[in-house]
């Protein structure tokens, strides 16, 4: 078992003929992901990657022909909201949006629409998800993780890789790793993923990687205290971040004194979560 993605995931790649889209499609195929279709308007009828993946003009056509059930989006920020709407309207039930830099008001409209349609989005501004040994959707390098029982959920890309890599160095593997993205408004938050890990029989423990900005970690702490029976350990980035500055991610900002790392660490600690001082301490905390 795993969460969100598994061997039944039939993936359609939106923006497949762009540099990023094509490169990562090759990586995903190589990992064993069942990439059934790609979409680039105007390039329908083409095949990419030595004839392995057919390209369609619209998501609707791709879904009708191939039965794709999951989408991953690599299109530039100005076109990404439309690509998400298109996927939702074509009957896709799970959308991963890798694109960074989407205006926040667009995301609020997208999220409202997806909620009404019952479509789940992961991201935007995220690395996607990886179920080691089975499938990956997005850009997480496959070689840094091995199959196992640790669920990983994170707001940050490379910091997630860091944790997967540290786990692997200690012969610990991941059940599924989910990057929820660094934007202030996203499709899936910590609580959603924690609930999935709690219900997943393969997952024994969870790593939650947070950062400054917003209050998702605080709400995750409440959820953990109330509902989680599995061990959760955490790392929160940004203890040395100055207030009022956006630290790379659109959502990583301390505003009006709230969203500090100290507050998040306190909330998690009070909920019984062990918080690592740096990412390389995480394997030891899980092992204890």
């Amino acid at each position: 078992m795993s969460i969100l993605i598994n061997k039944n995931t039939k993936l359609i790649v939106q923006g497949i003929t762009g540099n990023e889209g094509l490169f990562h499609t090759a990586q995903m195929l190589n990992y064993g992901t069942d990439v059934v279709a790609g979409v680039t308007p105007g390039k329908g009828g083409d095949w990419v990657l030595d004839g392995k993946v057919p390209v369609f003009d619209t998501v609707k056509q791709g879904v009708e022909v191939t039965g794709a059930n999951t989408s991953v989006i690599f299109v530039p920020a100005r076109f990404a909201p439309d690509a998400i709407f298109e996927a939702a309207d074509a009957g896709i039930s799970l959308v991963f949006c890798i694109t960074e830099g989407i205006p926040v008001q667009d995301m609020m409209r997208v999220r409202e629409y997806l909620d009404q349609k019952g479509v789940r989005m992961v991201g935007p501004n995220c690395p996607g998800a990886l179920t080691p040994g089975e499938t990956k959707v997005g850009i997480i390098p496959g070689n840094i993780a091995i199959p196992g029982t640790v669920g990983v959920v994170s707001r940050s890309g490379t910091l997630t890789y860091e944790v997967l890599y540290a786990l692997k160095q200690h012969n610990m593997g991941a059940s599924t790793c989910v990057g929820i993205g660094g934007d202030p408004v996203n499709g899936t938050n910590f609580i959603d993923v924690l609930g999935m890990f709690e219900a997943d029989p393969r997952t024994n423990s969870v790593v939650l990687i947070g950062e400054i900005g917003g209050s998702d970690e605080e709400r995750a702490a409440e959820f953990i205290a109330r509902y989680m029976t599995k061990r959760v350990v955490s790392f929160i980035a940004g203890q040395t971040a100055p207030a009022g500055k956006r630290m790379g991610h659109a959502g990583a900002i301390i505003e009006g004194g709230s969203g500090t790392a100290a507050d998040k660490i306190k909330a998690l600690t009070n909920a019984g979560v062990q918080v690592a001082r740096h990412p390389e301490e995480i394997p030891a905390l899980i092992g204890e």
Binding site: P103, R111, S156, E162, G182, V185, I209, G248
Partner: protein, 381 residues
């Protein structure tokens, strides 16, 4: 990106929100002339992107055009919280009966815009919220439907606005909502929105914060950016697609990924050092980007050592190493460089770097420890 008061009020006016008559002046003669046109009684307001302008003496009432000129001279010579005053707004003086607060911002937790109003305007709204939270009205707006007329009326009723003013208030609220949406703002604020003795509602002050991610479709707003509030290094970083924030420590950082960049700063602190900056070079550590990053980091004279932390993943470690070496060849740094590389072919990359006299590390903790030691050695000499 923050807009000045005068820029915000110009935009408000285009959306039917009444603002005082007034214009911007860059010298005292202009200020005098504008004051004469407005009948003498004016407010001279410094235009700098910081709070507390009034307390700093940057907002003053003039009873005559001559006094306006005198005040403008004084205010234009001021620095407020380190920022030079380059312009003053000269507005007609308004007789105030009552001050209200009205704003719209994004509520991250509910993922919706929220209209915030209070009958207690003209003061710091955060203070009102802390002291008397029941005096703050919060109304969420459906991002697909927008602000409905009844919602604006609800807010007017909730702040006890007499019904004679509802019509005017709804015009202001609707205008402010359209300002928020059509300019991709993350905050629009009128504080205070005043009721004048002549029974009119007027936006006496204005504030707008624009979503940086939306500037590509708001070119007219993008060109209003005030570079005074940004460190020159931050401006130059943006040009190269780097995300850089200057801090006041001694260890420069160059990292790929925002979360990892923060974690790198944190671990430097954990090992007894202080980070000199946040810098995310993003995906792909090509030598041009790395060169620009080095130049920016090393332009800070406090930097005693540089920690380069690259988690390659798919990118090959030896390619990253070659990019770093090419950049070093260009920039010729005089401080110790500590590199931690992870990813495919990382050993090969580390060997290349060690051959070039760089300090290499395998783990984050190791890299932090070596950086702190190298910085201490360098700067105590």
């Amino acid at each position: 990106m923050n807009l000045h008061e005068y820029q915000s009020k110009q935009i408000f006016a285009r959306y039917g929100i009444p603002v005082p008559r007034g214009r911007i002046a860059v010298n005292s003669d202009e200020a005098k002339q504008i004051a004469e046109e407005l009948g003498g009684r004016v407010v001279v307001k410094s235009q700098v992107l910081v709070g507390g302008r009034g307390k700093a003496g940057g907002i003053r009432l003039a009873k005559s055009a001559d006094e306006a000129q005198e005040l403008a001279t004084r205010i234009l010579g001021m620095e407020i919280k380190g920022l030079p005053v380059r312009r003053v707004l000269v507005d007609e003086a308004v007789s105030i009966e009552k001050e209200i607060y009205l704003g719209i911002t994004n509520d991250r937790a509910s993922r919706k815009p929220v209209m915030i109003a209070s009958a207690e305007g003209g003061v710091d709204i955060e203070e009102v919220a802390a002291r008397t939270p029941d005096r703050i009205i919060r109304l969420h707006i459906d991002p697909l439907l927008g602000l409905r007329e009844y919602q604006a009326r609800d807010v007017a009723v909730a702040i006890d606005l007499p019904k004679d003013y509802w019509r005017q208030f709804m015009t202001v609220a609707d205008g402010l909502w359209r300002v928020f949406v059509e300019n991709d703002a993350t905050l629009v604020e009128i504080n205070p929105l005043v009721i004048t003795k002549e029974k009119r509602l007027i936006a006496l002050d204005g504030k707008m914060v624009i979503d940086d991610n939306a500037l590509f479709r708001r070119p007219d707003i993008a060109e209003k950016r005030d570079l005074d509030v940004e460190a020159p290094e931050e401006i130059s970083a943006r040009k190269y697609g780097l995300s850089y924030i200057k801090l006041d420590g001694q260890i420069g950082c160059m990292v790929n990924g925002a979360g990892l960049a923060m974690a790198t700063m944190d671990i430097i602190k954990l090992y007894g050092g202080q980070p000199a900056n946040f810098l995310d070079i993003g995906g792909g550590a090509g030598s041009e980007k790395v060169t620009a990053a080095f130049r920016i980091i090393l332009s800070d004279p406090n930097v005693c050592a540089v920690l380069i932390n690259i988690f390659g993943g798919i990118t090959r470690g030896d390619e990253v190493a070659r990019g770093i070496l090419a950049a070093i060849d260009q920039v010729k740094p005089k401080v110790p460089m500590i590199v931690r590389l992870v990813g495919t072919n990382a050993e090969e990359g580390r060997r290349l770097l060690a051959d070039a006299n760089m300090i290499t590390a395998e783990t984050l903790a190791d890299a932090a420890e070596k950086s702190v030691a190298a910085a201490k050695e360098r700067c105590n000499q």
